[in-house]
Amino acid sequence: MKLKTWGLKKSIWVFHVSSGACNNCDIEVLDCLTPKFDIERFGMVLVGSVRHADVLLCCGAITRQSAPRIKRLYEQAAKPCFVVAIGGCACSGGIFKGSYSIAGPYDKIIPVHAYIPGCPPKPEAIIAGVVKLLSTLK
């Protein structure tokens, strides 16, 4: 295992990106922080700046106005940085697919490493998805 990814495994810092979601996936991501789910026991901490982040938790289909900003966010993140698409909209565009103001799902704009489908996925599913991503690191 490379030193960089080995360092990632124990304590990942996540940044939350919302780009035209209905806000439900965002709330479920926040829910992971609260006492019932408490992702901090896995060493995951939600950070306020993308420059500190190891994993981007992305919610929502990308609107035309947010597409260039999402690209810039990804460029600013220190590599290796993993992208997790959360919810049907982030994975495929979901119910908003085909709208004039949607630039596409996440994998059209930036590379995506894990998909967590659901509308919205439960916090358990989000935690399981991120843990699964970590277990594939080499």
Partner: protein, 408 residues
């Protein structure tokens, strides 16, 4: 010297992104401007390409937190257009789901407001008590959010009478923590110093800016669609419209706290109604929607949601217009933010329970030399939290002695 601070458009904590420009003179806000459109998904246009029944699923996804308010308003509009009368049991089901949603939304706001003020204990506790409500949703509707319970002509699925004792027990168990938090918030000297007289929206201004929901009710304007234009089961149960006179952030918090008790009252009475109508039908068959137009309104947790539909007799609407409460409440910042200090802005903007999603990137631009200073969303919240710390020290109230801890 004046400085302009853009707040937004992205913020990791909240709903739709918006961009605020705050013009400052020293530390005092002299002007505020709002830009919208970062979260525009073209829902009204998509609605025109979907059938009447499919639209209920689409508009649930306007906002994840008001995901029952929009379908209720939309179904009211379609039922107004087609002249459909819904069965009594469906009315009770709609009210129960709507009020449960109000409780979880107000708890969510309370937690975020606590976070902005540096009361992270309140954030964790409020969200902890929100969980039983979400579990209840999962039990009765099948999903924690996006319940898909509302259908044109009634409800999509029934609430089983066997589930009623569990719902009753869960709702009753919320009363004690809500009472504790209400008492703690109303008696806490730090919260008084931090929230009273902050972000005041006077009654005249509230009427002038046409604000809705808790924002209007905290300024003494007693408007509530549930009372003014009763639909669902709201005219069949006893409840009160909560108002406060002062119009500051404190009043808005109190209105929301007390509204949760009214919601619990409504749910209990609706559950009685469900018990009485056991086995009755909960949805009428809708064949087609005749040409014409209809208007539907519902009191969402944030205020009045308004839907307009126009039908030409086919299975899709020709036009679907939506007006959400935050859009109406935003201009009131012109009255409530101006004259405040920058550290009070975070909570004042949050006080209308907006989709104040925007302080991920804050740049301070000095208008004289054009120098830019970038602040994160954390900076703004930090300013707010530091002010609370200062007040705490002044009052001799250390974090360990906060009433939230004393209660238990």
């Amino acid at each position: 010297m004046k400085t302009v601070i853009p707040i937004g458009p992205y913020h990791p904590l909240q709903e739709e992104p918006e961009l605020f420009y705050l013009t400052l003179d020293g530390e005092t806000v002299v002007d505020v401007d709002v830009r919208l459109g970062y979260n525009h998904r073209g829902i009204e246009k998509i609605a025109e390409s979907k059938t009447w029944d499919q639209i209920t699923f689409l508009i649930e996804r306007i906002c994840g937190i008001c995901s029952t308010s929009h379908p209720i308003a939309y179904c009211n509009a379609v039922e107004d257009c087609a002249g459909i009368e819904i069965p009594e049991r469906a009315k009770y089901i709609r009210s129960i789901i709507g009020e449960l949603e109000r409780i979880h939304s107000h708890l969510l706001w309370l937690g975020l407001a606590g976070h902005f003020l540096g009361y992270n204990t309140l954030f964790m506790w409020a969200w902890k008590w929100r969980e039983p409500v979400l579990d209840l949703f999962e039990q009765t509707t099948g999903n924690r959010n996006h319940y898909a319970m509302i259908k044109i002509g009634g409800a999509r699925r029934d609430i089983k009478n066997e589930d009623i004792p569990a719902i009753r027990k869960c709702v009753d168990s919320l009363v004690a923590p809500l009472e504790m938090i209400t008492k703690a918030a109303i008696d806490d000297p730090v919260l008084h110093a931090r929230l009273k007289g902050v972000g005041v929206l006077k009654k005249e201004d509230a009427i002038k800016y046409c604000v809705v929901g808790p924002t209007a009710r905290a300024s003494g304007v007693a408007i509530d669609v549930r009372k003014d234009e009763p639909h669902a089961a709201y005219d069949m149960v006893e409840w009160n419209v909560i108002t406060q006179e002062s119009g500051d952030v404190f009043a808005k918090a109190v209105v929301r706290l007390l509204e949760m008790f009214e919601s619990i009252k409504i749910i209990q009475q609706c559950l009685d109604g469900l018990e009485k109508t056991k086995g009755a039908e909960f949805c009428v068959e809708v064949e087609n929607i005749p040409p014409g137009d209809g208007i539907g309104r519902y009191e969402a947790p944030r205020g009045e949601t308004y839907h307009y539909v126009r039908s030409d007799g086919t299975n899709c609407p020709v036009r679907h217009k939506i007006r959400a409460p935050t859009y109406v409440n935003l201009p009131s910042f012109k009255a409530s933010c101006i004259g405040q200090t920058i550290s009070d802005v975070a909570i004042t903007l949050a006080s209308i329970d907006p989709c104040y999603c925007c302080t991920e990137r804050t740049a301070i631009i000095d208008s004289k030399n054009g120098k830019k200073e970038h602040l994160g969303e954390k900076e703004l919240i930090r300013l707010s939290q530091e002010k609370t710390q200062k007040i705490r020290k002044k009052l001799g109230n250390q974090e360990g002695q906060s009433p939230f801890f004393l209660e238990k």
